[in-house]
Amino acid sequence: MGMAADSEFHVLAVDDSIIDRKLIERLLKTSSYQVTTVDSGSKALEFLGLHEDDRIHQNTPSVSPNNHQWRLQEVEVNLVITDYCMPGMTGYDLLKKIKESSSLKNIPVVIMSSENVPSRISRCLEEGAEEFFLKPVRLSDLSKLRPHLLKTKSKDHCKEQVDEKPAFPSPKQEGKEEQQQSKNNKRKAMEEGVSPERTRPRPNGITSMV
């Protein structure tokens, strides 16, 4: 893969506040992580390759390859850090969806919140969150991430199954709040409007690209 040792982990940060996104991005980069930020839970799921209503099953070798599957496997996210209070999908909802997904459940999730509500904290931890950080998040909080990331290093939960490099939509078309930071990220621009992965997958196959 050719990733530099000091940017070996890719963190997806989710927060509806532009200030907090900027902050968490700086904190994560200072801690030598690759960072992508998005402004909502639904965008986070899209980035992770999961749609709210659909389930994507990655590890079915009998299925013919298509961009859908390739996109999932190209973007490896090693940790998700999300704000709790967001309009629409909360951080808790996002956590649940990730943990309920067969392809994503091994990704460690960390919740951030400006409010110290014990019941909220325990609910998140029970649902599988690794850590709960009170905002404003500090550099010292981020040092707690490393053990969770190192645990996942040995797990091959994003294995490449095809050789060809796929094309898929530029994240910029999904919203200006998303940012792509890593050179190592293999996303390529695709013509707008052609998004086969937006359609619902057929039971035993995937819709072919137009």
């Binding site: 506040s17 200030i19 907090d20 700086r26 904190l27 905002k135 404003p136 500090r138 550099l139």
Partner: protein, 149 residues
């Protein structure tokens, strides 16, 4: 004014902002995240805070002008403002937001209007002060000096 005087002035000014509660420890955290690779980080975050706060203050004004006030909506805006002010260390703004949220919960219109006025005032104070401080910093940099911590 020479460089050393400018630097002293900056340190004094900054210290007073902390003493008067305009800024708290979180602002220091922001400064520590700034380095030669990201020399404008603090100014950038603070600028985002200014833009976002102005948007929120406008929304709050509109929401509180309604015939039938949607307190949930008002509270949501205050919650955002509280969060962002906390994230940059604008302590006095954050404190007013806390009181503001309590009035929202009580659905107390007068209390909310009072807090809106107060938060506008605190916001404008901290904005002016931060802008003055940035200006001082820029003067120091232009004179070839470095910003004292």
């Amino acid at each position: 004014m020479d460089l050393v005087q400018l630097q002293r002035q900056l340190v004094e000014y900054r210290t007073s902002l902390y003493h008067e509660g305009f800024l708290d420890e979180q602002y220091t955290q922001l400064q520590e995240l700034q380095d030669e690779n990201n020399p404008d980080f603090v100014v950038e975050v603070v600028s985002l805070f200014f833009e976002d706060s102005e948007r929120l203050l406008n929304e709050l004004t509109k929401a509180l002008e309604q015939q039938s006030i949607d307190f949930k909506r008002v509270d949501a805006h205050v919650h955002q403002l509280k969060g962002s002010s906390s994230s940059i260390g604008a302590q006095r703004v954050q404190k007013v937001c806390i009181a503001f949220r309590n009035y929202c919960e009580e659905q107390n219109v007068e209390g909310c209007l009072k807090c809106l006025q107060q938060v506008r005032h605190e916001y404008s104070l901290v904005k002016t002060k931060l802008e003055s401080m940035f200006q001082l910093e820029q003067q120091i940099l232009s004179a070839g000096g470095s910003i004292p911590m």
